[in-house]
């Protein structure tokens, strides 16, 4: 009995995994929870990674990823299959990430003028606990490189960062980036090229 139900579940899972994104979104609009679950499983990691690369903040990246899926869920009936679903979901995530970056910029601006800036705030950002055991050289070098790349990406202006992450980290095509950002292809190419040149300068040591 249990093996039968397991088999049935497997068949159902296989059936769902073979369904296209458009069909899944239509099913979500009809209230199909399993379809929504499948969408989450398909795009969860990509969206978290994308937002993480934009913000360099894991917890916030998780929050905003959930917000992205929440918006997919609540507005599934308004989804129009003009663009691919991956473009649609990246567009929502990109808007949330950019909005977060702008809010952070405003907060930094305000805190800059705050007469009572807490020294603890600065400590929280800079404090890193020393590792208890010494790291092997390779791991240390990897960590250093990873931090350097993260730092270089974060140093990019928001408009360059978005296009570069979509292209070189997420691997989207130029056409998809045009759809996500709403920019012209020329602008997208120009921004990616500019971002790469900045990164080449900053990461000269590693490339």
């Amino acid at each position: 009995m249990s093996s039968l139900s397991y088999s049935a579940e497997l068949d159902l899972a296989n059936a769902i995994s073979s369904v296209s994104d458009h069909e899944l979104v239509n099913a979500v609009a009809q209230g199909d929870e399993a379809a929504f679950q499948e969408i989450v499983h398909r795009y969860r990691s990509q969206i978290i990674n994308f937002i993480y690369r934009m913000l360099n903040d894991y917890d916030r990246a998780v929050d905003l990823s959930q917000e992205t899926f929440l918006r997919i869920y609540t507005s599934a009936n308004r989804y129009q299959a003009t663009y691919s679903f991956s473009t649609y979901i990246y567009r929502i995530a990109a808007n949330l990430a950019i909005s977060e970056l702008r809010q952070r910029k405003r907060r930094r601006w305000i805190s800059f003028f705050s007469p009572f800036r807490s020294q603890d705030d600065d400590l929280d950002q800079e404090m890193e606990f020393p590792a208890e055991a010494p790291l092997p050289d390779e791991i240390m070098i990897d960590n250093e490189r990873r931090k350097a790349v993260d730092s270089a990406i974060q140093s990019l202006p928001e408009k360059y960062r978005l296009t570069l992450v979509l292209r070189d980290v997420e691997g989207l095509s130029y056409e998809q980036i045009v759809e996500v950002t709403g920019l012209s292809e020329g602008t997208v190419k120009s921004r990616i090229n500019r971002a790469r040149n900045i990164l080449k300068d900053k990461l000269q040591k590693y490339i």
Partner: protein
Amino acid sequence: MISNNEFPLTPDGCRLVQETVDNADFNVVLKVSIVTHCEKCLSCQKYVQQLANLRTLLISQVVVEAPLDFDIKLRQKIAATKQVQLVTPWWQWISQPALGATAAALVMIAVLAGIDRIHFTTTQPTVVTPNTASVATKYAPKQIVEPRSFTSEVPNNSDVASNSPEVYSAPVAASKSPVSNRARVVRRVISKPNGDIAISEINVEVKYGSSLSQTLPVSAVVYGAKPVVNIDNNDESKSVGTFKPGMKIF
């Protein structure tokens, strides 16, 4: 079909290579053309190599995984959103014609009542006497007469030798009313046979509105269950309680 001639060894050819190299991943012919160009052009070779290294560096960044409770928290957020949607916002039910009209009528009644009250209080005559004033408590509904107001002005023995009624003023809590901030209490002192001072009765003239007034013994002046003024027959005098909103004491 792209031939080697499309990327000549000129500045324009190099620019074309650098512009199109990004699209060469999925186009084998283009890729071959670029490789052929780069074999003879060190500048483009360096550019393409750096680009490839940079992309490798970016792609090799650690991929973060979703936390274990990702789905659970997402479900919770969705449930919370649904709950919020179940509660009808006020602007939705007010948009229904019948309820909207009722709400508008209630607002009008409230506004008119407010205007009436304002008119009523502002048209009352102002009572000003040399050592006397009134207290309008319209704008200070919870005024409390401080005990010291009365005790500080209780006359000494010589003052009560005569049996004539006395009038003194007792300060009360400050009011924002334009009328005054002092209360006038009419006091009649009766000497007891043993000559001790005793306050047997204090009459308070209470004015309701502009014309109606009433003189009451202090114990009868009450607001709800709280006496406005309480005075003992001992030497110690007290006054406690609150004035009724709109009531004036002269």
